[in-house]
């Protein structure tokens, strides 16, 4: 398929790896963070890291939407799912994220009507097909999925679907990046920027990273050659003493993003003053709620939720993994008590989570030997 095959060419990959090797300074250690969970998944699926020199280290960022949902929000969702007459809808991975008293999948086993959907539009269809029931959509994701939720809420309003509401957990990418850059326990040399978030927000929101923190960022696509080229572009900037936002993914990402998507998000959502991120704690203005104009479609207002903050399990080190402070296999429970089949931490639940990416592609054995 176009846009896929040509970005997986092994010859070009080897050539790029050679250029990367020629660009790095021997004796200098480079720490680059891929922000997006989709990148983490691609890196381990295709073995991109195997093509890099030993002194180029990839650190996995907080950009997996499932991984950053705190336990308290899962508990709130489960409470909604147990409301009489409610059909609770969410993306599949969300069903396996543990709250303090189990998962949504377990709530389903106990009798709650929890259904997996592939998009908010699917949830709206369920609402239209079940007018006598209340249908709640548990919305998660960064700026890539927020437009989808926003359009669905507009459609629900336009079509007068009164039994549909949304529990909004959408988050934004810039505040956690700033929090990471302010974190004293993490030293990064550059960022691989999230390609699909940039499709919506454009390149401008990332300019504070070179401007305020002196780190380069290259917006990248998701194929192996995209990632290798983006890594090369970051290393090239470092070698040249440059520091800017560059766009490797120009075939998809316009500099200005998608103005229509930004407009619909501005209409339907408002910034929360603060929001808890799993492992990262509370971050100011980092998440979205429904705007006052759409408050009647806000499930949290329609039903009320416990809203209790729950501390992460002590054994789980998702926080350090999400901040890139430790590698997944350095977590005490990785691959033993915590596996994709029985996850303790969210990073093991979603295929985009760093722990699941390591586990599913068998990366832990080799790296344990190295250590």
């Amino acid at each position: 398929m176009r846009y896929v095959d040509e970005f997986r060419d092994p010859e070009l990959g080897r050539a790029l790896a050679g250029e990367i090797l020629a660009t790095v300074e021997p004796g200098r250690h480079y720490k680059l963070m891929e922000v997006c969970g989709g990148h983490t998944h691609s890196i381990y699926k295709y073995g991109v890291d195997d093509l890099l020199p030993a002194n180029v280290e990839l650190v996995h960022g907080p950009g997996c939407p499932v991984c950053v949902i705190p336990m308290g929000r899962v508990d709130d969702g489960i409470a909604l799912a147990h409301e009489a007459g409610v059909i609770f809808t969410c993306f599949g991975d969300m069903m396996r994220v543990p709250g303090s008293h189990g998962t949504l999948l377990e709530a389903k086993a106990q009798g709650a009507d929890v259904r997996m959907v592939y998009s908010p539009l699917d949830a709206l269809r369920i609402a239209k097909a079940n007018p006598e029931r209340e249908v709640v959509f548990f919305a998660i994701g960064f700026e890539t999925t927020a437009p989808s939720t926003a359009l669905t809420l507009k459609r629900a309003r336009a079509e007068g679907v009164a039994n549909f509401s949304c529990m909004c957990n959408h988050v934004t990418i810039v505040p956690p990046l700033r929090a990471l850059l302010d974190s004293p326990d993490l030293r990064l040399d550059g960022f691989i920027g999230p390609g699909h978030v940039a499709t919506v927000v454009g390149a401008r929101p990332f300019r504070f990273i070179p401007a305020d923190y002196g780190r380069p960022l290259v917006i990248a696509g998701f194929e192996p050659l995209d990632l290798l080229q983006a890594i090369h572009m970051i290393l090239r900037q470092l070698a040249d003493g440059r520091c800017e936002v560059e766009n490797q993914y120009t075939r998809v990402v316009p500099d200005e993003g998608n103005p229509r998507a930004l407009a619909v998000m501005a209409e339907v959502f408002a910034l929360r003053p603060h929001f808890e991120w799993r492992g990262l704690g509370f971050i100011s203005q980092s998440a979205l709620r429904l705007s006052d104009a759409y408050a009647d479609l806000d499930a949290e207002q329609r039903f009320g939720v416990p809203g209790v903050r729950v501390a992460d399990p002590k054994a789980c080190q998702c926080g350090e993994v999400l901040k890139g402070v430790i590698k997944p296999w350095e977590c005490k429970v990785f691959g033993t008590a915590c596996t994709p089949d029985h996850a303790i931490g969210t990073c093991m639940v979603s295929p985009e989570g760093a722990c699941a990416a390591y586990y599913n592609y068998g990366r832990f054995a080799r790296e344990r030997e190295v250590v």
């Binding site: 989709g38 499932v66 998009s119 998608n258 994709p340």
Partner: protein
Amino acid sequence: MTDTGARCGAEHCITCSDEGLAMRVLRVDDERGLALCAADDGERATVEIALLEDVAAGDVVLVHADVALAALDGAG
């Protein structure tokens, strides 16, 4: 294995909601702002196209959670 359903394949896990999929537009319903699209593996989906200008049959678009977010340049 995960229990995220048949559409969660090796290439894309759209159930975790943050994975984009390149899809070709087969038919456009301008009145409702929807398009019938097909992925490379033949999987079909009804996609919102309200966020893009001038979507036509044959275009390749980037789809997240059933919404087209970007047109892919030079698709032929």
